[in-house]
């Protein structure tokens, strides 16, 4: 499916749950609400014409106003690509796990939980694995984080 067909197909099949975003100049980017996430992902994975069976990457982001979690999907059979983004409030950020759809999401979600402090619901193994065992300085990837070993380089 070409990009335009894909956007049109998604526009007509997802009842407005996915909104296309301006930033998607290369692959189509869609925004989805946190509560619709699992349902949408399941449909993206199962739909005969979409078949997004491969989760490339799952990344968290802190924009200083809100958290964003983005999912980059590829269909290995139909060779098309799609990026999803979920925006979360700063307070009590929580997201549903998608690891029952793509098993590879497991570690990525763990990482998001560990470095951003975004809680992952229904995750089977939320334990620390990147930071060292005695870590007690909070969530280092947040923008307002300031650890003792972290020197902010001057603005240019």
């Amino acid at each position: 499916m070409t990009r335009e067909e894909l956007v049109a197909y998604i526009g007509s099949h997802f009842e407005g749950k996915l909104t296309e975003m301006e930033t998607g100049k290369f692959d189509p980017w869609f925004e989805v609400k946190a509560e619709d996430l699992v349902e949408v992902c399941q449909k993206l994975h199962d739909d005969e014409n979409l078949k997004f069976d491969f989760l490339c990457d799952l990344a968290g982001n802190d924009t200083r106003e809100r958290f964003e979690v983005s999912y980059k999907l590829v269909s290995l059979t139909l060779k098309h690509r799609l990026d999803l983004r979920v925006a979360l409030d700063y307070e009590g950020a929580e997201i549903e796990s998608v690891q029952h759809i793509w098993a590879g999401a497991n570690w990525h979600e763990r990482e998001v939980w560990e470095l951003y402090g975004i809680n992952i619901k229904n995750h089977d193994n939320l334990t620390r694995f990147l930071l060292h065992d005695e870590w007690d300085e909070g969530f280092p990837m947040r923008k307002d984080w300031d650890g003792k070993d972290f020197v902010r380089l001057p603005e240019i």
Partner: protein, 170 residues
């Protein structure tokens, strides 16, 4: 310490034994210097250069250096690559498991002072001298095999210049 280290002290009790002890000292440190078995310890980029130095073109084996997988049988730990805070206790433990006399080469910028991660990495140990005593520092990111060899030769020189009294301290 091995039994043989007590021999020079024993020899010095006899007339003329001092001369023998000096010769023995030379032989012992020469033996140490010419058969440094290094521990296969590589964490990051420098490990690849360490591998290359062990391989055909640079060939560590010329200096009698072969790798040992277990710290018990190693004389030298070449800390190749970034040591993170999570890895630091393991490095210390490996060092503790090695048998005396033991030496440490800090290979690459990361092990010297944190390298490119000095200012703003929350996870990297800024220099391994906080963890283990270092004998030779080799700068570079990563150091070329030639500079690693140079570092090993420097360590050989250091070992050869050791006196019997140093062994107690080490």
């Amino acid at each position: 310490m091995g039994v043989i280290k007590k021999v020079p002290y024993f020899l010095e009790k006899f007339p003329g034994g001092g001369l023998l002890a000096t010769n023995l000292e030379g032989i012992l440190s020469h033996a140490q210097a010419s058969s440094m078995w290094y521990l296969l310890f590589g964490t990051a980029c420098c490990a690849i250069e360490l591998m290359c130095t062990g391989a055909s073109r640079y060939d560590f084996d010329r200096f009698g250096m072969i790798f040992r997988p277990t710290p018990r049988q190693a004389d030298l730990i070449i800390a190749a690559g970034t040591i993170t805070k999570k890895m630091a206790p393991r490095l210390r433990r490996l060092y503790d498991q090695m048998s005396e006399p033991r030496y440490v080469i800090a290979m690459g910028g990361c092990t010297i002072k944190g390298g490119p991660f000095y200012y703003d990495s929350y996870a990297v140990e800024k220099g391994i001298e906080h963890i283990v005593p270092v004998d030779v520092y080799i700068p570079g990111c990563p150091p070329r095999p030639e500079s690693l060899l140079e570092g090993c030769l420097t360590l050989q020189k250091k070992i050869k210049s050791q006196k019997l009294t140093d062994w107690h301290e080490k």
